[in-house]
Amino acid sequence: MKREKMARIIGLVDEKFVEEAAPRRKRRGRKPLALALVAAVLTLAILGGALFLFVPYSDKSPIIDIDKYRDSEYYPLIEAMYNITIQNAFTLNLPMNNFDRIFAQVKNTMAPTDDLLYGVEEDTAGSNDTPGYVETTDNQVEGVIEGDRIKRSTTHIFYLGVETIYIYEILGEQTSLVSSLKLTASEGKMILDDGLEFYLSEDCSRLTVVAPMWDVNSKRSKCSVDIISIDVSNPAEPKEAQRVSISGQYVSSRLVDGCVMVVTNFVVYGEPDFSVESEFIPQITTDDEERSIAMEDIFLPEADAQNATYTVIVMLDESDLSIDDELALFSYSKELYVSQDKIFASMGYVDVIETDIDVDSSTKKTTRKVVNKTEIAVISYDNSGFETLGSISIDGTVLNQYSMDEHDNILRVVSTTNETYSEKEIFSGGGESSIVTGRKKNTSLYCVELDNFSVIASVEGFAPEGEEVTSVRFNGDICYVCTADTKFYRDPVYFFDLSDVNNITYTDTGDIEGYSSSLVDMGEGLLLGIGYVDSLDSLKLELYVEEGEAVRGIASMEKFSVAYSDNYKAYFIDREHDLIGLAIYDYKKQNSFYNLYGFDGSGFVELCSVDIEGTELDICRGTIIDGVLYVLFEDKLYTQMIFGE
């Protein structure tokens, strides 16, 4: 097969290229002979140290004596972290000798994956009634505003391009740039474009920018997030007013009732020095002063902690970036769902059940069943701060925030369940062999009563065996779930009726060609799927409707040899007029376009295609104001009349 052949061909590349590309190595340019000579001298000088570095540790001797930290407020955390970093060194790729201990770092595999879309409301009150403010981002929960790269008032559009804010005065096709402000990073840091987004205050006088940062000089945790308040009361002269920094990689943020909640994921790298708090406790920096999150604000899971990471949640007053409250969930993942008054944080872990059997006098056998599970912590929040309420465990792993939803005090969760069975034989002569004897993968839905944290209803294994959840959307008593068969790029869409938890029913589309990565509720029983046809360089739009016992596709549009952003915020959705807008890159034409599609009752129609310049499709945004399509892409604005007055 072609793909396997190409994979082998890639394997023929020279070892120097393999070494150059090895992940987690510092990128260096090639230097001339002088540096090589210096390196040789240093190597000779530390040869004795090299022997010290590479002697492997004994399996039994601990590396750190943590007893000396017993009086520290963080001792419970140090103990939990020690158990993870030392006892589970294999899983976390941790050091087995002094060389590893000094130079290794735990890979941060957690990164933001917001990938589902509700759509974009246009010119609605949203959660803001103050004249001037217009909500442009469709948010998962009403009243809980999500950050984006475009916000607007009735008079101005604010757009976040490549590290620069652009402010335009809305004048139809005569719209012009009023001002721009390039964002700056603190010394030694650089801004990461992925995740960069902002909020506009209700009175349209302030932007709150959430800027992920990368510390190029740090030898340990490189990621942090700067929250920057920018005064735009005079749109012609925007200026930075305040700045707060939170350690960790950016996950997500929300604006609720004048409070900005920022979530980061802080990873403890390698073997931390527990006498240096910044190496194992998340930090917050205000007015150039750095401090640790207090132990009383750190939440440890009920199940055994799996990773030396924190999900950090900081609540700031949007008007002046003062900190109202903070919370760090130890060992939890980035998958947070935020409802109007609660935060649901998930932590994946495995349940291992082992059974020993004596096969005969010389052979022992151990059967092992490994089940993936998720613990979900529930935290309530309001203007005064956070309060942890409790936690629940369910089978399977949770894809992202959209896999969870609270409705009428019931938490609904969709997960991919995974079980692995293996057997290990240990021979008296000292040898052993292990084999995997079976695997099960499927999808499940659970309903959890939040008063007593108990599962009150579930639908388990509703997809064909081997499939996993690829996208989920809840809408009141309805839940839509896409599962994937990646072998053939086919997937069904399931509709769940959750109005009666004692009698949950569901219908499915059967096998549908293509693969939806985003689901949009278009209202009136319609669901829009945005995804792929038969490869990742294709685009498929498909509209589904629920009809009796079945779900039916009623319209579809396919394009090939194209690329588009799978960031749901990059899509423009107008439910009132059944419009969908998104930027695509056409490989054949070698150009980018912003295409606006409409649904005319029988099929999709391409209403316009705007030629745009740029490569970062993730940051392209479109919106329609008074019949004019505005497309903002990097440092350019494009306008086109769509509807006449």
Binding site: R3, A21, P23, D193, D194, R439, T486
Partner: protein, 183 residues
């Protein structure tokens, strides 16, 4: 321990070479195998098989870069293992990566060439790339890394990584088509 010392042990048939190689590069190989197979058990087996295969190959082989040499062996073993077990379970990331790679396959074919010439061609192509392009491309298609992990490692955006990958895949396809080869 220095790579040369480990290789010398291989040549002297000193079995501690295996434990030395494992201590230094075991984790590296494990992570390569894990990225391909998505299974801890399979990755562990691939790591062990790699060392055994290296024991059989050295000598006569005398690799210049032991780590990369072992990782290459491990990657091949992991790909074989993944192909064998694909019917039982799949690694979504690996599936996507392989699907992307299939787009590099040339449409035009004239000459059939052997592995030696293929190796020359692919390395010629790699040399033609800018360093950043090559690193991103190999992290995805050699190391089978997730795109977001690549973006973090290279300190750039996910969008940029995707763009670089797309364009490099197209370049590679055109490169092989221009050479007029069946691979």
């Amino acid at each position: 321990m220095d790579d040369r010392e480990i290789i010398e042990k291989f040549f002297l048939r000193d079995e501690s070479a295996i434990s030395d190689a494992k201590a230094k590069y075991g984790r590296y190989c494990y992570s390569v195998a894990l990225s391909v197979t998505g299974s801890h058990e399979d990755a562990e087996e691939c790591e062990n098989d790699t060392l055994l295969r290296a024991w059989r190959a050295i000598p006569p082989a005398r690799p210049d870069r032991l780590g990369a040499y072992l990782a290459t062996i491990c990657r091949n073993i992991a790909l074989d293992r993944y192909s064998e077990r694909r019917g039982e379970r799949q690694n979504l990331n690996t599936e996507r990566t392989l699907d992307e790679l299939s787009e590099c396959y040339p449409d035009t074919e004239t000459d059939i060439i052997d592995e030696m010439h293929t190796r020359e061609l692919i390395n010629s192509f790699m040399s033609s790339l800018k360093e950043e392009e090559r690193i991103i491309f190999l992290q995805r298609y050699w190391y089978m890394q997730e795109i977001k992990a690549i973006a973090e490692d290279c300190g750039c955006s996910v969008g940029k990584v995707k763009t670089v990958l797309r364009r490099t895949r197209i370049k590679m396809k055109k490169f092989f088509e221009m050479k007029g080869v069946i691979i």
